[in-house]
Amino acid sequence: MAQVPMEHGLYVAGLLFCLGLVGVLVRRDLLFVLMSIEIMLNAAGMAFVVAGAGWQQPDGQIMFIFILTMAAAEVAVGLALIVQFHHHFKTLDADAARRMRG
């Protein structure tokens, strides 16, 4: 089994989180946004797991499981919304739904 500094694992998790964040902020396509959110959730879970591995505790993995559960529910609802959105607007561009003109 690998013996790496805990920081390194956390760095990777942070990097992934930030990539996901950039994706959320940059993409207009709702599918990409949803995927990016998945990346961020996954990165958060990863941080828990890394920490759990570091402290030799099961709680990190348990937290990951909860996050996983939540991600599953969220994806289900989110995808259903995307389907409806596409149905309504004939596009997945999030900006198509804006009504405010700033």
Partner: protein
């Protein structure tokens, strides 16, 4: 084994970066699966085989399949590609990029000052996890089940086709 960790990390980061920048949604999805598998490998290397398995089964398996279904259902292909490309205009990356870098910087700054133990490499077994899960965390499990139920109901409700499909009226563009 340390090399496996670092290589997997690199793969995960590159694949994720590619997910965010792809134009074609199917390509992006495939890179996402790669990324998730790489993360699963990291979990395994860090001594968490149970969640590694879950990552593969649920994330890379079930959730990604949902995405694929939706892509198929909506028949998204090359049609949106050109427009998507136009959207990936470099200037819109600046703000989010800066914010992400700042956030990362803050994370690094926090971690640098910490005295953290290295990962031991010994396994936290599925048994330990299960004992904790159904012991002190039982209430969380129940709540998660409720959440899943809510997700189920919600997804079912939202996924129903509204019949007849409303023509977009003039008020809502």
């Amino acid at each position: 084994m340390n090399a496996v960790f670092y290589i997997s990390s690199l793969v995960a980061v590159i694949a994720t970066a590619l997910v965010v920048t792809r134009v074609n949604v199917v390509h992006a999805l495939l890179y996402l699966i790669v990324s998730l598998l790489a993360v699963a490998l990291i979990f395994f290397v860090l001594g968490a085989p149970f969640v590694a398995a879950l990552e593969v089964l649920i994330y890379a398996g079930a959730i990604m399949v949902l995405f694929v279904f939706v892509i198929m259902m909506l028949n998204l292909g090359a049609r949106g590609e050109r427009r998507q490309k136009a959207l990936l205009n470099p200037s819109i990356w600046i703000g989010p990029g800066i914010l992400a870098i700042v956030l990362l910087g803050e994370l690094v700054y926090v971690l640098i000052g910490q005295e953290l133990p290295p990962t031991s490499g010994s396994e936290v077994s599925p048994k330990q996890v299960s004992l904790a899960l159904f012991g002190p965390y039982a209430l969380g499990v129940e709540l998660a089940s409720v959440l899943l139920l809510a997700g189920l109901v919600g997804a079912y409700h939202l996924g129903r086709r509204v019949a007849p499909p409303r023509a977009p009226s003039k008020e809502d563009p």
